[in-house]
């Protein structure tokens, strides 16, 4: 195509602004609807629900001496468990490759699902914060702290998903997070004291930063062109 032809082509098409983040999300949602976004994931959700019930039952028996540490460690659990079961099953499915060649790729749909999981994760975090806090002031500090923890964890998980095509990367990340959350147990007193003394404005900034990084990673998954899956 020479220069004149290119100019003609551009003029015939008109200048089209590329869709923004929410535009892309809405477009995919409109095309697929909830049912197809979560297509064939019922077993994964059953496994995730059973795991969550197990985790919550175990955590309920832990003495509540360390509300900040336990709530912070628990905050990304729902997101991670759902991601673990659903996205591994999606990546293991032999249709993964085929769906990556469609207009709305498996990766973009996964990004949309992650948005939904983060929504459910927020509700879970609010519940955990209410359950763990003993006073309103403690709740106000704890909630943004836990939200930040969840969003940060979700963002790292999305980054890992973007970085590698292996389904086991998701599993590895969950294990790494488990160890990372368990590490403060060895210096729990200090960790609890540190978390309980973080100024509220910093916890809010932490939550906002976590949410921003998470949205950035989701946007990357939605719009990245040069991505290899095979």
């Amino acid at each position: 195509m020479n220069k004149d032809e290119s100019v003609k082509y551009i003029l015939s098409q008109g200048l089209r602004k590329p869709p923004n983040f929410w535009g892309r999300i809405l477009k995919i949602h409109r095309a697929l609807g909830w049912r197809l976004i979560f297509w064939d994931l019922s077993y994964s959700f059953i496994f995730a629900a059973v795991t969550i019930v197990g985790v919550v039952t175990m955590v309920r028996h832990v003495p509540a001496y360390y509300p900040y540490s336990s709530a912070f460690g628990l905050s990304p659990v729902l997101f991670m468990v759902i991601m673990f079961f659903t996205e591994i099953s999606q990546r293991a499915c032999s249709l993964f490759e085929l769906t990556q060649t469609c207009r709305y790729t498996s990766r973009q749909v996964a990004a949309l699902r992650c948005m939904c999981y983060s929504g459910v994760g927020v509700v879970f975090v609010i519940g955990v914060s209410i359950f763990s806090a003993e006073s309103v002031s403690q709740f106000i500090r704890l909630l943004p702290l836990c939200l930040g923890g969840m969003f940060l964890c979700a963002a790292i998980e999305l980054f890992v998903m973007r970085l590698t095509r292996s389904k086991w990367a998701i599993a590895c990340f969950s294990v790494v997070w488990l160890f990372a959350s368990a590490t403060p147990v060895f210096f729990l007193e200090y960790w609890e004291r540190f978390l309980s003394n973080v100024p509220i404005f910093i916890t809010i900034a932490f939550a906002a930063a976590g949410a921003t990084v998470f949205l950035y990673q989701t946007n990357k998954m939605l719009s990245e062109e040069n991505y290899v899956i095979a």
Binding site: D40, E97, A230
Partner: protein
């Protein structure tokens, strides 16, 4: 027009394809090469599942990576291991793929009914696919590749698992489809390519070896293929291609650089002969 300009693909130190230059316009292109020669690598690059290490792939002058969803809109792809959801019917499955392809539900329903008729699955459109034979699943795969009426249809081993009747039906279908689109077909079944491909593309040592019509490809070894019922009489160096029974005798087909017409009958080469001759060091 789809154009590959100096495309090379490396995986670490391993070079899967080197300096491939190809031009595709409407018609059927058969990729013919042994396992590991780079057929699937080429197909994955054409479907944007992987990208060239160097070189470019252009669709009507634009890089396919830059075209992004606009390019994916014009391709139909049937992968080698076609996955499907066992607990869903072809209708449900195709509606799902149609939604991913951005086709609206009403149009998708009409198209699916039409395609299921074409691939002969109308009667079982509501049945769960776990009860389907391999051939039936493969036909669902062909239907999904055709959903968006693609300008480029890429089929990786499409006839695997099809019985002879289904294979003939498939060949006719591809012939009809190729009139106004590019069909790229990768298969081990030489007869499929021989019957329907206008062009045969062969790779050797990870480079383009030939890109021509089946007749021109066969002409590369004309005068070199012979048939005899007494192979032990042939003293000249030769390569045995195939053996077949003809009444009480065994006819051996072989290739030789030397004229063996005194002890054997010279025959016209077919694509299978070319395949066995060209890849004589690679085919066991």
């Amino acid at each position: 027009m789809l154009l590959l300009n100096g495309v090379t693909k490396r995986f670490g130190k391993f070079t899967a394809l080197e300096d491939i230059n190809l031009e595709f316009s409407n018609g059927v292109y058969g990729l013919l090469a042994p396992n590991g020669a780079g057929k699937t690598t080429l197909i994955k690059m054409l479907t944007t599942l992987i990208f060239p290490t160097s070189g470019e792939i252009l669709w009507n002058g634009d890089e396919i990576v830059k075209l992004d969803a606009d390019y994916r809109d014009i391709i139909g792809y049937l992968p080698q291991d076609f996955g499907y959801y066992k607990n869903h019917s072809p209708m449900q499955f195709l509606l799902y793929i149609a939604a991913l392809k951005g086709i609206n539900r009403d149009r998708a329903k009409r198209k699916i009914e039409e395609l299921l008729e074409v691939v002969g699955l109308s009667d079982v459109s509501g049945k769960k696919m776990k009860k389907f034979s391999g051939g039936m699943v493969q036909r669902v795969g062909i239907a999904q590749a055709m959903l968006n009426d693609p300008k480029i249809l890429i089929l990786d081993e499409p006839t695997a698992g099809l019985d002879p009747k289904e294979r003939v039906r498939f060949r006719n279908l591809i012939s009809n489809l190729s009139k106004d689109r590019i069909v790229i077909l990768s298969t081990h079944i030489v007869s499929d390519i021989e019957t329907i491909a206008n062009h045969v593309i062969m790779f050797k040592n990870h480079k383009l070896f030939a890109n021509d019509s089946p007749a021109a490809i066969c002409a590369m070894i004309s005068q070199k293929i012979f048939e005899t019922n007494n192979i032990s009489a042939i003293e000249a160096p030769h390569l045995i291609l195939t053996e077949r029974q003809d009444g009480n005798e065994t006819l051996t087909r072989f290739a030789s650089e030397v004229d063996c017409s005194q002890h054997a009958t010279r025959v016209n080469p077919n694509l299978e002969d070319v395949f066995l001759y060209v890849y004589r060091d690679e085919v066991v």
